[in-house]
């Protein structure tokens, strides 16, 4: 039975002194203790639990929280208090101690914002749906990002973190969708196909002119949406009615004129002079967002230049490809690309068919998208765009998107650029730290030194044995006898059944035989410890084991990949590609195995999370994640070597298991029996006590695991 009587101030004070390390921090906890002591037991438990959890992140935040929380309990929902604490800790992770303390101190502001938290839609939650929504609509493939306002630069749509203008979640979602559709409409129906910045500068008050122009465009685009997406249009009108938005009387006829099916942005510009002169303020429409002509102009200028090059280069590639299939006599003649108009399927966008020497061809998806994008920017495809680029006409750096070299990026200020971010489990906080680990994949530098040959010679007896055992594991087709259904009659069964029938006993129905083809359908990921502690013997043994294992797996035909992991602090987590799933076991891979060198520390959570996602992209009935390691999780100057690291690793393994992966660990750490059962479960690990036995054991363990 649990004790439900309230804790006394003394006990609470003791707890607080321990958690807040009063001995060193000299914080005053008596008052806090007495105010908590006045609460009900369940309230006390809730608060104390949170103070303890926050203290594992930062004592100062926990102290500030403890100062304020008891008073708040009376008039704030617990759910909100929890959100407030988590928000403070996330802020600490992202921005450091002072912004986090500010979050705690500014609880009033937090409660005001809590409406946003209950009724608002959060970008993180709806971003995925909105992106698919906008991809489903026609036109350029737009991107979606979180920004400080609602606007588009004609390639990326920006939405704020929270949209909370409407009173309910459902309506805020509709508002968000309307904003996305409006920005889409701007790119789709040519709002940017004008020289807007110059034209606006002709007005005395360019900012006012921009506002008026935007209002006119919004009216025009609303009409476009009414024609294209009538369901959404109805919802948009409903939102406006709920917000009591009306159109000034003097604007009614603008709306009418711009609602014509053939109205363009030029018509909005034409009406701008009249609207500008009108003293009435332009209507404020809830989903209109902002118009940023400068951002658009900059983005468009870069894109127009790039897409011209890209299209001509792609056409040259297309020509090369098609040439292979053309008769010889026409091979030397330069190909003529052309466009013919097809019956329109989309209003305002001419459907075009690409032709080569007059014959229609089906362009690849990327060429089709380029054509659409250029058409949206320029309203047409200028003829000079259709000349295939000559060899060497453009510097490939102009159009190729080259991934940045990881080592260079690490040294730059924006070291998170292009990296994947992974969360990490903080067991003290009992919550994830968001985007905590900055992970990058790198290649192992191959070393061609005949390591494989040397290894095979060294273990020649073992190799023969392995080959034999693994060959025996290969798919064997078995003939299943006495089946109720099958390809052939099982004569033995039939004879027996007939004898039974004569005899008067019951005749079996299982009279057939069938060939059973069992398919091994296994994908296995080897996650190899490349931490500094593997230097020397262990590293050699790991590399030898990998060679022997790869040889064995080649006999067996299972799909496998090998990645090494290492890290120094959460900002520099690295995974080293040794063999990807789609790579054959070739000279390069062998040289990479030979090139495995000890690196830094053993941060494990990120590696398990990333390799889980890699493994989950492979289609296989059984998926294994096998870790080769020499010790427990550890990292530089960090609490990762404590319980924290073990709990994060355990959480990552649980996530992997939940997605259908079987984790297994082979370790050289003799103390591993203390912590591995907690991580992998009682049976999913093996401790090898002598380093030089590793090569003998690994393949054998694999065989046992998969039969």
């Amino acid at each position: 039975m649990t004790d439900t009587s309230a804790l006394t101030a003394e006990i609470i004070e003791q707890l607080l002194e321990e958690w807040l390390e009063v001995e060193f921090t000299f914080l005053h906890v008596e008052e806090i203790a007495s105010s908590i002591a006045a609460l009900r037991r369940d309230e006390q438990d809730c608060l104390l639990n949170w103070i303890r959890r926050i203290a594992t992140t930062h004592i100062q935040i926990a102290y500030q929280f403890a100062l304020r929380a008891p008073d708040l309990l009376t008039h704030m929902e617990r759910r909100l208090i929890e959100a407030w604490a988590l928000h403070a800790m996330d802020t600490y992770d992202r921005a450091g101690i002072s912004p986090a303390v500010r979050v705690i101190k500014d609880v009033i502001n937090f409660t005001r914002l809590s409406h946003e938290r209950t009724a608002g839609v959060v970008f993180e939650d709806v971003g995925g749906v909105m992106l698919n929504f906008v991809h489903g609509l026609s036109g350029r493939r737009l991107k979606l990002e979180q920004g400080e306002a609602v606007f588009t630069d004609s390639e990326t749509l920006f939405l704020p973190a929270v949209i909370a203008r409407m009173p309910s979640v459902a309506d805020n979602f509709v508002l968000c969708k309307a904003m996305v559709a409006m920005m889409w409409a701007q790119t789709r129906f040519g709002s940017f196909r004008t020289q807007l910045p110059e034209l606006l500068n002709a007005y005395e008050d360019a900012a006012r002119a921009l506002k008026h122009f935007q209002a006119l465009e919004t009216l025009r685009l609303q009409a476009c949406i009414a024609r294209e997406l009538p369901g959404l249009y109805r919802e948009m009108q409903r939102l406006r009615a709920e917000l009591h938005e009306t159109l000034p009387a003097s604007w009614q006829h603008f709306a009418q004129e711009l609602a014509q099916a053939d109205a363009t942005a030029d018509d909005s510009l034409r009406l701008l002079a009249r609207a500008y002169a009108d003293p009435a303020a332009p209507p404020d429409i809830c989903f209109q967002g902002e118009l940023r002509p400068d951002a658009v102009a900059k983005c468009m200028a870069a894109r127009v230049a790039k897409e011209k090059i890209l299209l001509r280069v792609k056409l040259a590639q297309l020509e090369q490809e098609l040439k292979k299939h053309r008769p010889d006599e026409t091979k030397d003649r330069p190909a003529q690309f052309g466009l013919t108009e097809k019956p329109a399927t989309e209003p305002g966008l001419t459907a075009l068919e690409l032709t080569l020497d007059g014959a229609p061809i089906a362009p690849p998806e990327e060429v089709r998208q380029l054509l659409t994008s250029i058409q949206l920017d320029l309203g047409e495809i200028p003829p000079e765009y259709l000349f295939a680029a000559g060899p060497g006409e453009y510097d490939p750096r102009l159009y190729e998107e080259k991934p940045a070299d990881p080592d260079e990026v690490w040294q730059g200020t924006y070291h998170e650029e292009g990296a994947s971010l992974y969360p990490e489990w903080d067991y003290g906080r009992q919550h994830y730290r968001k985007n905590w680990c900055v992970m990058r994949e790198k290649d192992v530098l191959p070393v061609h030194d005949g390591f494989r040959e040397a290894t095979l010679e060294k273990y020649s007896g073992l190799v023969k044995h392995l080959r034999k055992t693994f060959e025996a594991m290969r798919d064997e087709n078995r003939l299943l006898k006495r089946q109720a259904y099958g390809d052939n009659v099982d004569i033995d069964a039939l004879v027996e059944a007939l004898a039974d029938a004569r005899d008067g006993s019951e005749m079996s129905e299982r009279l057939f035989m069938r060939m059973h083809r069992s398919e091994r359908n296994i994908a296995v990921m080897f996650m190899v410890d490349m931490s500094g502690s593997t230097r020397g013997w262990i590293n050699d043994a790991e590399r030898e084991s990998l060679i022997l294992l790869s040889e064995a797996l080649e006999t067996l035909g299972d799909r496998y990949a090998i990645y090494g992991f290492s890290g120094t602090t959460r900002k520099r987590c690295e995974l080293f590609r040794i063999k990807r799933f789609d790579e054959p076991y070739n000279e390069e891979v062998r040289a990479r195995i030979s090139g495995i060198r000890p690196q830094e520390y053993t941060r494990m959570g990120f590696a398990i999370r990333h390799l889980t996602s890699v493994l989950n992209e492979v289609e296989a009935r059984t998926k294994l994640l096998i870790t080769l390691s020499d010790g427990k999780p550890d990292d530089y100057h960090d609490n990762y070597r404590t319980q924290y690291g073990i709990e994060d690793t355990r959480k990552a393994l649980q996530e992997a298991q939940r997605s259908g992966i079987h984790p297994f660990c082979i370790t050289l750490d003799e103390k591993a029996r203390d912590y591995l059962p907690h991580l992998y479960g009682a049976v999913n690990y093996t401790v090898i006590d002598e380093v030089n036995k590793l090569p003998f054991k690994v393949a054998d363990i694999y065989r046992r695991l998969t039969t």
């Binding site: 749906v129 698919n132 991809h135 489903g136 026609s138 969708k177 559709a181 919802e235 019956p343």
Partner: protein
Amino acid sequence: MEAHSLAPEEHFIREEPYYELIGQEIAIFEAAYQNKLPVLLKGPTGCGKTRFMEYMAWRLKRPLITVSCHDDLTASDLVGRFLVKGGETIWVDGPLARAVRAGGICYLDEIVEARKDTMVVIHPLADDRRALPMEKLGTLLEANDDFCLAISYNPGYQSVLKDLKQSTRQRFVALEFDYPAAELERKIVASESGVALDVAEKLVKFAQMTRNLKGSGLEEGASTRLLVHAAKLIASGIEPVVACQSAIAQAITDDAEMLAAVHELSSSLF
């Protein structure tokens, strides 16, 4: 229509199936048939391959024997097997052997789904030998002059395991199918389901939206067949958004986020 059973080779198509000509597929098929060449139909699911076969069977007045291939389909399932009856074994022809004997059209739907060793049994039928070796009987069955072999295949599946071998595909006259152009698709949806043309137009537009999503979360966009399903629901009085959700969105994906996005698209459109 009452349910009744009939032998596969008696399955004649008596009434003209609804089919809209897209290109020259009918002429090509007829020419291939006259020259005893087998035919391969390529195209995404639900674009009208099976309907085309029914139409051709009606046109050529041959019985149509369809086998939907699956990954456990063995050679015996196609050729035939011995069964036990009253203490004796008797031979029963499989659907392919029946078609070869009776001079029917044998249509192997989604051939890549069948096991690799199964595909090989059609090889001798698909070249100028036109014969089916029946190993278990120890005989060679030469095809009736009217026999025709057709297979279908969806190149959209990007799985290496489900690719058609060159030795198989290079025996066939290939006809490529795709979703019909918007105008034609609208006509098909309207006449198959009886909905008004403007509803059909919206459905086609909706299909186009889902096809835009192919590659960014959807394996395939909505097929013409799904559009017809949705249109039939609408014609029976179901709300268009609901019809799209149950006949199309749920049929193309299980992913919750994608379902939500597709739902937003359909509710924007109607």
